[in-house]
Structures are given as structure tokens and as C-alpha cells.
């Protein structure tokens, strides 16, 4: 990298670097600098030559920097150990020009990158040919410091057309990842999308666009934005999710407006008894279903807020539907609804209890919602597996179920053991005693 004298002169005379000539004779300039320094409370130079490099700072773009860095935590830690190492850094102006050789710009790409890593003075402006730029980038990548890679990328982004930049990065994955992350962080969505488009990364392009909805507060605007996402090149599976997201928010907006009105009118019993704790906007589908089972359980399928409508629109599986409806109705202590949820009629008109989620789960959910023992008991009895049934009955103190099950199992020992768990003089105790003294039962133990 040989520079001609002309280059050098041009460099020193360009306005950007003028601040660094530190001309001794130029009092005005040094005064100006001094006051600027005072303003920025920065310090330029130390008298200790060894530390020169650490203390002079210029940004990568060649601008003078109003700062400098402490020489790292080692310094500070050793300072902690001994006072003697605490140097006094006093600004010292008017050093001979020769000392500022460091500002010269004939660093090789690898030297430049090394200096960048240390946060030192370094101009990148002289890397003008594509070859030089790429060499610089490769040096940065091979040094592994992401901060330097990004610094070089910022320079390349500014000095290369995006087509060329993208083309070169496509074959440089490490650098590419850094650029993508950088664009995400500074929020340059436009360039990011261009980049994904160029790379033909359609799915990332779509997701990146979709991500923006998170920044939109207003529900109607958000809904409109989601609509623009529907046609994007998501995977088939994700396309369906995006469509659902849009539909869900659309429903929520309708339900919210309607219910807010109902609530404030104060005419509807359910809203009076159970005022809404939060808006339903932007809630997940399952939460919306719960809400709808809570406030709109009996509505006909035709209304947007009815649970059945939600179930159909979003193809909610039976299991999920029952689970959610059960939790909602149990919370309201609407035991009849709970009962109806599991009652099926066969073609002869007989009713039968069936639960797609298993009755042990039903019991647990009922218990979580503080269902009374009589209700719990009914469902514990429906648990098929005897051990599970006994466990649940014991756990939730469904005495009758425990006693009856022990009797059916002819398990005298277990019944005897259970006797100590019921209250003295209670009906349960009497029932146990009656069984234990019964001569009708052939106990197995």
C-alpha cells in the first residue's frame, strides 16, 4: 500500500483530518482544541509514551473523538492493589509532530483491524478499491472480533452500493450474520428486507416483516398490518398461523367493542357479577376461548363471541375445547354446565359420561377451582383406573369413594388404615365401622 506524496497531502488537508495536525504554531487552533477538550472533559495525551496508543482515540470513520479509554480493567485492579501505579494523566499539548505518526494512514488491512480492535485511531477512508475493502473485511473476520467486523461493515455499507455489498456478503456468512444483526438492531428494516430479498431468503423476509406488528399499539392498525402479512411467502404451515392471527384479532376487536359497551351499560348480569379484569385484545386464542366460555357460553353459534363459533373458526381440537370450557364453567361454579360437557346420549337415549381428556384431569381442574366434595366425588368415581381413583379420592378427601373402593376391593387393611384419616365420630367413621364389622364381606386380608 504505497501512497504517493500527493495522496498524503490530500489526506492531511482534507477537512476531516485537520483536527489532528496539531500544529504547534497555530495557537488559535490549539486554543480551540483546548476549549473543546474542556467542554468534553476529555484528555488527549499522557506523558507516558507506553500508553500513548491507549489514550488517543478517533472513531473508525476518522472523526476526532472526544474521549479516551482507561487502559482496561487490569489497570484498575492493580490500582486497587497499589497506589504507586496510579498515573497522573495530564493533558499535554504541543508535543512534537513526529510523535503523532500513529495517525498516518498507511496501516495495512491487518494493522488497521488490530488497531480497531483496541479502539485506536484508525481511518478506513483510504480503503477505496473493492479489493481493499474486502481484504479489510476478511482480516476483521479472521480476527474474530464482532465489534470490528461490524465497524468494517458500517464502512462498507456507506461506501458500496447495496447490490455489491450484498453480493460480496452472500459468500461471507460470518460477516453476513453481523450485518443482519446490525440492521436488526439499528432498525434499518428497509435494507434488511432488501437483503433478504436479494438472498432469496423468503421466509426470513416474511418473518421480519411480520415482526413489525409488535411495534403497533393501536388494535385496528395492527389488524390492518397483519392483513398485509397474509400474502407473504411464509411456509404453508405458517401462512395458516398468520391468517389465524389476523382473524383472531379481528374477532377480538368486535368482541371487545361489544363487551365494553355491555359492561358499561350495566344491564348484563355476568359483567356486573364478574367485571372484566383486562381487555381481550391481543390475548392468545385459548385465553379468548376461556373468555368466551366465561361470558358468552350460551350464545348461538352465529355470534362471533360464542365458544362454538371460535371452536369452528379456529378448528380447536375437542380436547382443548373441553379443557378450556371446563375451567371456565368450573370457575363460575356452573356445575350443570360441567355436567353437560361430559354427558353424551347414545341412540337409545341412554346417557353416558365421557371425557376426551380423561376424568383424572377433570378432577384436578375441578379441584383447582374449589369444587365442593360432592361434585368432585362424582367425577372421581368416573376414573377408570382403580389405583388412580383411590389416589385422587384420598388426595381430595372424597371419603365415600375411598371407603366404597376399599370395600369393592375387599381390602380390609387399607380401610382400617383410612379410618385414622377421617374425623372421630363422623358419619364416615361410622360407615367404616359398619363395614368392618359386617359379616357379609369376604375380606381378602
Amino acid at each position: 500500500m504505497n501512497r504517493t506524496k500527493g495522496d498524503e497531502e490530500e489526506y492531511w488537508n482534507s477537512s476531516k483530518f485537520k483536527a489532528f495536525t496539531f500544529d504547534d504554531e497555530d495557537d488559535e487552533l490549539s486554543q480551540l482544541k483546548e476549549s473543546k477538550r474542556a467542554v468534553n472533559s476529555l484528555r488527549d495525551f499522557v506523558d507516558d509514551d507506553d500508553d500513548d496508543d491507549d489514550l488517543e482515540r478517533v472513531s473508525w470513520s476518522g472523526e476526532p473523538v472526544g474521549s479516551r479509554t482507561r487502559p482496561g480493567s487490569f489497570q484498575s485492579l492493580s490500582d486497587a492493589l497499589s497506589d504507586t501505579s496510579a498515573k497522573s494523566y495530564a493533558p499535554e499539548l504541543g508535543r512534537p509532530k513526529g510523535e503523532y505518526r500513529d495517525y498516518s494512514n498507511d496501516w495495512s488491512p491487518s494493522d488497521t483491524v488490530r488497531r480497531l480492535r483496541k479502539g485506536k485511531v484508525c481511518s478506513l477512508e483510504r480503503f477505496r478499491s473493492l479489493q481493499d475493502k474486502l481484504q479489510l473485511l476478511e482480516e476483521a473476520v479472521s480476527m474474530h472480533d464482532g465489534n470490528v467486523i461490524t465497524a468494517v461493515l458500517i464502512f462498507l455499507k456507506r461506501t458500496l452500493s447495496k447490490e455489491i455489498l450484498f453480493r460480496e456478503l452472500e459468500v461471507r456468512q460470518v460477516a453476513l450474520r453481523h450485518l443482519i444483526h446490525f440492521l436488526k438492531e439499528i432498525g434499518d428494516q428497509k435494507l434488511l428486507l432488501d437483503l433478504f430479498r436479494f438472498l432469496d431468503r423468503t421466509e426470513e423476509l416474511a418473518l421480519s416483516h411480520y415482526r413489525e406488528h409488535l411495534n403497533i399499539r393501536d388494535p385496528d392498525k395492527r389488524k390492518e398490518f397483519l392483513k398485509t402479512c397474509i400474502g407473504l411467502p411464509f411456509s404453508a404451515e405458517d401462512s395458516a398461523h398468520i391468517q389465524d392471527h389476523y382473524t383472531l384479532l379481528e374477532r377480538q376487536i368486535i368482541i371487545e367493542a361489544n363487551d365494553r359497551h355491555l359492561e358499561s351499560a350495566g344491564q348484563t348480569e355476568i359483567f356486573r357479577k364478574h367485571p372484566r379484569k383486562a381487555s381481550i385484545l391481543n390475548m392468545p386464542l385459548v385465553t379468548t376461548l376461556f373468555y368466551s366460555c366465561f361470558y358468552h357460553y350460551t350464545e348461538a353459534e352465529g355470534t362471533f363471541s360464542s365458544p362454538i363459533n371460535l371452536k369452528k373458526t379456529f378448528k380447536i381440537p375437542d380436547k382443548q375445547y373441553v379443557l378450556t370450557a371446563l375451567a371456565a364453567r368450573a370457575k363460575l361454579r356452573a356445575w350443570n354446565d360441567v355436567d353437560a360437557l361430559f354427558t353424551t346420549k347414545n341412540w337409545l337415549g341412554y346417557t353416558k359420561k365421557r371425557a376426551p381428556i380423561g376424568f383424572h384431569r377433570v378432577v384436578e381442574i375441578l379441584h383447582k377451582n374449589n369444587a365442593p366434595v360432592q361434585i368432585l366425588q362424582e367425577y372421581v368415581n368416573l376414573v377408570e383406573d382403580v389405583d388412580t381413583k383411590l389416589n385422587l379420592a384420598t388426595k381430595f378427601k372424597c371419603h365415600d369413594v375411598v371407603i366404597d373402593t376399599c370395600r369393592d376391593l375387599k381390602d380390609r387393611q387399607q380401610l382400617l388404615a383410612y379410618r385414622s384419616k377421617v374425623d372421630k365420630g363422623s358419619a364416615e367413621e361410622e360407615k367404616i365401622d359398619a363395614l368392618l364389622s359386617s359379616s357379609q364381606i369376604r375380606w381378602k386380608n
Partner: protein, 626 residues
């Protein structure tokens, strides 16, 4: 062996006291130096704005009175609100993040608009990034603010634990592939080698580990001479990438310290115990480290042992109190002046940890911990996959916890080399329905990081199908794989587990009171992979014979050994091992290695980018609402 295995006492001689004293006043001078040393000197009164994430680390080394000494008038949190500071000087102590720059710019530009001039100083910790300067320039405040760096990158959380307190390392590197913190790690290693001499034996595994190591070597060469001729004090150093072992970090923790972290979140070595623990109406901030004598004895224990230990301890305490009954005046005087304070302290600690245990028990019973652990163990061992899958499904359907559901799915994915497409689709759909459609983005993140993947169609397609699909989508498929290839790779967990014998065969009960191997940190069901690798390499002093494991870990190019011929290392130093976790380590891993150290006569010191656990990893991957 009696049930609690106490840690060997911290050996001051092993390392200079500065680092190895748990941070109290020892390092406060490094903070003072920010204010004392000339460049950042901002004489006069100033208001200090601190980024929330820096508050806990700062808490460990400074207090309000120190700040007052430095003429800090008011303290503000950096948040997205206009600041009502009336000070003539504003100082910002922040992580080098774009959003912080924008915040500062908004303050400065608002001042400019109002015709107000004041001084601004931004102190970046641990270092400044060029991207931040670029934002300052773009916002037109470059030159209006002065910048500085505070290389506060090593916080000693305990006698054997140094944290860089950089939780974002995980997402930045393992998700985004951004290498910005590698230099910080290299600097930290450089600092340690200047303090403790060269490291004669170096080992590492992982792409990031290798890069950090190379950058650090460069640094050492550049600053040649500083460590030359010094006697090494740390015999071995081991660098390990978090993605070499995601499984361990995803498991529920059951050793006491890990459980406390999972339940209450230990932040910078201290924990906030709420009223349910303190059995008063106040919360209490408690420092958890080796200085807490009660904690020190139970921290590495399996939770099932902790109760017994605490009640024994309580009885002993009672007995010591009771001794005063038969005392005469003089003895009583001695007792009060010499022992009572210690007993009271112990009493206080004891009741705190008992309270914590009770609270943990309550929470764990409520969430049916037993069933959860059972599922995890089944996943680790690879049986009943269908049953585990439906357990996870139910977990999701009942909206138990978005983070927990995600964690279980990731565990299923990594142990099974990806979910079969049908399960992937159905779990994902249910997850989005339960926890919100925007988690589509979370799934995309998890996939890129290799935490939650779908078994490649190629694995299951018939020959004809794959031929056809190849013809049709070769180009597109290539692009897509490119996009996702980023850092993700096949986990091969099952094969690795077999090779390294991670699932111990146990006849009868595993006695958690007398652990026989590191598996005790997971109730005897699983030896943490990361710790097993470290154990094997230390045993061999190389990667020899581990080629297959390294290949299965996709680390063929990233497993390295570097030994210096000098035999200046004393046998004492050779027992001391520095383990560096890139991307975070868990308390369970620390406990397991402490155990290994006791068994083999090593002593481990840990350097981690942050202490982590499954919830933190999942949160780092979650797409948060803006």
C-alpha cells in the same frame, strides 16, 4: 461420609486475594477509578443514569455513599422515559446498546431544542462498540457527549465463581451469530493470565471457544512479556461453548443452589426472598456465597438431603443455646460476648433457608414437580417418547407456563434429534393457540439456534420422494438450508449419551446422600454432558480417544489442546482448573464439577459469561413484545 459434603475452605493462597475474596470492598476501587482517573473526570455535582442491568453488578462493589463521594447527586435508571434531571452534568453508565444511544440522544436533543447546555458523559461497560458511536453520530450528538469505557468485566460472585454478567452473550452469539463479545472474553482471559501467570494446559471445544482462545493468544503475543517467566498458578484452562451441551442447561435443577436459582432467581450472587420465605412482611435481599456458613454446606446437596441437614443443624443450634443453662456468671458472660453473636447469625441463616425450602416445596408440589421430573428423565433416557409428548401437549393446552412448555419441547427436540414433522406441527400450533401467535417468531429463533427443530424431511422421505423434491426445489432448498444452517446442527444426543455413559446404570436406589458420580445433581438420572467432557479430557490431558464424541458434537474443527512444554507448573497449580463457559453455566454444572474436584483432588474455578438456567435460555429466545 456424613451427609453434607462441605467444600474445602477457600484457599487464599491459591489466588491473589483480590479476585478470590467475594466482592465486597475489595474491588470497589476499580469503580472509584472510573471517577478518579482523569479522562472521565467529571468534577462537580452530577446526576448518574445507570442501566438496569448494571445495577446488580454495581451493587456488589459500590454503594450510595461511594457514589456520594464522587459527587453523584441523583441516581436514575436508564429507561424509556424523559428524565427530569436539573443537574448541569449528566453521566450515563450503560451497556453498549443501540437503544441506550437512542435514549441518550433523545435527552441531549431535547436539551438542545430547549437551548440548554450541559455536560454529558457516557461510560460504556465493558467496552464501547463502533455501532454505538455510529448512532451518536447519526443522531447529531457526536462531540456533544464524551465517551469512556469501564472494563468492568469480571465480577467475583464467590470464591470460585467469576461472572462477566453478560447474559446477552447467549442470544448475540448463539442466535444472531454476532461475535461482539469474543474480544471481551479474550480481554478477561488476558487479565486473568496477567494476574495468575500463563496457563500451561489449554483445552477447548466449540467454535466460539476456539475463536476466543485465538483472539486471546493474539493479545498475549501483542503484549508479550507480561506473563513471560511467571510461574503459572492455574494449571489448566478449559473453554466450552454452551451449544456443545444444551441438554444440561435445559433440565430442572434439583441441587439446592440450582433450585433456589430456578425458583427465586439468583441475581448477581444474591437473591430476594419474599415474605413467604422470611415469614415476616418484608422481603430480604440475601447474599448467597461461601461466607454464608449454612448455605455453603447445603448449596451442592441434592434437595432431598437438605431437610435432614437443616433439622440436624437446628437441633445442634438448640443444644448450643441450651448449654447456657448450667453456666455460672462468668461462663455466661463469655458465652454472650463470644458465642451468642455467631449463634444468632446462624439462627438467622438457618431460618431463612428453612423458609426457602418450605416455599420451594409448596411451589413444586403445586406444579406437580414429580411428574415433570419423571418426564424429563424419560426424555433423557429416550423411552416413552409418546407419553412425554402428550405430557408436553397437556402442559401447553393448560397454559401452565410459556417458558416451561418451550423448555420441554426443546428438551424433546434435542434428545430426539429434532421432532418428527407431525409432532412439530401439532405442538407448534397448540403452543401458538395457548400462548399467542407472535411466538411464531420464537419458533423461528429456536430453530435457527438449533434448540427446537423438525427432523429433516430427507430423514424420512422415501428415495423417490426425495429425488423428486430434489429436482423441484434444489435451489430453493439450498437457500432455505443456508438460512437455517446458521448455527444449528444435529444434536446426536442419544449417541453421545451412549458413548459417554451419561445415563448411569443403577441397581436399586441411587443413594443421593452418598453420591457416587456427578449424576447426583440430576437425582442420579443423568451425568451432565458438559461436565463429563471436562472430566474425560482432564483425565487424558487431551482429546485423544474422544474423536467420535467430538464428531458427534459437530466440533471436529473446534476441539483443541494447547500445552506448553515448560514444566514450571507446580503440582499445586496443576490441581487448579479454570473452566470457561461461553454462553452461561448453571449452578448444577458448578455443583457437579465441585463434586468431581473433591473426588479427584482438583479444584475448579469458574468463569462464565453469566450464570444461566433453562428459563433464562428460553427467555433469551422468546420474542418479547416491544
Amino acid at each position: 461420609m456424613t451427609s453434607p459434603i462441605p467444600l474445602p475452605p477457600p484457599h487464599g493462597w491459591m489466588l491473589p486475594p483480590l479476585i478470590f475474596k467475594p466482592a465486597s470492598n475489595a474491588t470497589s476501587t476499580s469503580l472509584e477509578s472510573i471517577w478518579n482517573q482523569p479522562p472521565p473526570k467529571l468534577p462537580g455535582k452530577k446526576d448518574l443514569f445507570i442501566e438496569a442491568d448494571l445495577m446488580s453488578p454495581l451493587d456488589r462493589i459500590a454503594n450510595v455513599s461511594i457514589l456520594k463521594q464522587h459527587e453523584v447527586d441523583k441516581l436514575y435508571k436508564v429507561e424509556n422515559k424523559p428524565a427530569l434531571s436539573s443537574s448541569e452534568q449528566l453521566c450515563f453508565l450503560v451497556r453498549p446498546r443501540i437503544k441506550n444511544m437512542r435514549y441518550i440522544a433523545s435527552l441531549v436533543n431535547a436539551d438542545k431544542l430547549a437551548g440548554r447546555t450541559r455536560k454529558y458523559k457516557v461510560i460504556f461497560s465493558p467496552q464501547k462498540f463502533y455501532a454505538c458511536e455510529m448512532v451518536l453520530e447519526e443522531e447529531g450528538i457526536y462531540g456533544d457527549v464524551s465517551c469512556d469505557e469501564w472494563a468492568f468485566s469480571l465480577l467475583p460472585l464467590d470464591v470460585d465463581l467469576l461472572s462477566m454478567e453478560l447474559p446477552e452473550f447467549f442470544r448475540d452469539y448463539f442466535l444472531e451469530g454476532d461475535q461482539r463479545w469474543i474480544n471481551t472474553v479474550a480481554q478477561a482471559l488476558h487479565l486473568l493470565s496477567t494476574l495468575y501467570g500463563p496457563f500451561p494446559n489449554c483445552y477447548g471445544i466449540g467454535r466460539c471457544a476456539k475463536m476466543a482462545y485465538e483472539l486471546w493468544r493474539n493479545l498475549e503475543e501483542e503484549e508479550d512479556g507480561e506473563t513471560k517467566g511467571r510461574r503459572p498458578e492455574i494449571g489448566h484452562i478449559f473453554l466450552l461453548d454452551r451449544d456443545v451441551d444444551f441438554v444440561t442447561a435445559l433440565c430442572s435443577q434439583v441441587v439446592y443452589e440450582g433450585l433456589v436459582d430456578d425458583t427465586f432467581r439468583i441475581k448477581c450472587g444474591s437473591v430476594d426472598f419474599g415474605p413467604e420465605v422470611t415469614s415476616s412482611d418484608k422481603s430480604l435481599k440475601v447474599l448467597l456465597n461461601a461466607e454464608d456458613k449454612v448455605f455453603n454446606e447445603i448449596r451442592n446437596e441434592h434437595f432431598s438431603n437438605v431437610f435432614g441437614f437443616l433439622s440436624q443443624k437446628a437441633r445442634n443450634l438448640q443444644a448450643q443455646y441450651d448449654r447456657r443453662r448450667g453456666m455460672d456468671i462468668k461462663q455466661m458472660k463469655n458465652f454472650v460476648s463470644q458465642e451468642l453473636k455467631g449463634l444468632k447469625q446462624e439462627h438467622r441463616l438457618l431460618s431463612l433457608h428453612i423458609g426457602a425450602c418450605e416455599s420451594i416445596m409448596k411451589k413444586k408440589t403445586k406444579q406437580d414437580f414429580q411428574e415433570l421430573i419423571k418426564t424429563e428423565h424419560a426424555l433423557l433416557e429416550g423411552f416413552n417418547i409418546r407419553e412425554s409428548t402428550s405430557y408436553i401437549e397437556e402442559h401447553i393446552d393448560q397454559q401452565v407456563s410459556p417458558i416451561e412448555s418451550l423448555r420441554l419441547m426443546c428438551l424433546l427436540s434435542i434428545t430426539e434429534n429434532g421432532l418428527i414433522p407431525k409432532d412439530y406441527r401439532s405442538l407448534k400450533t397448540q403452543y401458538l393457540q395457548s400462548y399467542g401467535p407472535e411466538h411464531l417468531l420464537t419458533f423461528s429463533n429456536l430453530r435457527r439456534a438449533g434448540l427446537l427443530t423438525e427432523q429433516a424431511p430427507g430423514d424420512t422421505l422415501t428415495a423417490v420422494e426425495s429425488k423428486v423434491s430434489k429436482l423441484v426445489t434444489d435451489k430453493a432448498a439450498g437457500k432455505i438450508t443456508d438460512a437455517f444452517s446458521s448455527l444449528a446442527k444435529r444434536s446426536n444426543f442419544r449417541a453421545i449419551s451412549k458413548k459417554l455413559n451419561l445415563i448411569p446404570r443403577v441397581d436399586g436406589e441411587y443413594d443421593l446422600k452418598v453420591p457416587r458420580d456427578m449424576a447426583y445433581v440430576f437425582s442420579g438420572a443423568y451425568v451432565p454432558l458438559s461436565c463429563r467432557i471436562i472430566e474425560q479430557v482432564l483425565e487424558r490431558r487431551s482429546w485423544q480417544g474422544l474423536d467420535e464424541v467430538v464428531r458427534l458434537l459437530n466440533c471436529s474443527d473446534f476441539a483443541f489442546t494447547d500445552m506448553t512444554k515448560e514444566d514450571k507448573a507446580s503440582s499445586e497449580s496443576l490441581r487448579l482448573i479454570l473452566v470457561v463457559f461461553l454462553g452461561g453455566c448453571t449452578f448444577s454444572e458448578i455443583s457437579a464439577l465441585r463434586f468431581l474436584g473433591r473426588e479427584k483432588g482438583y479444584r475448579f474455578i469458574f468463569l462464565t459469561t453469566a450464570v444461566t438456567n433453562s428459563a433464562r435460555l428460553m427467555e433469551a429466545m422468546s420474542e418479547v413484545k416491544a
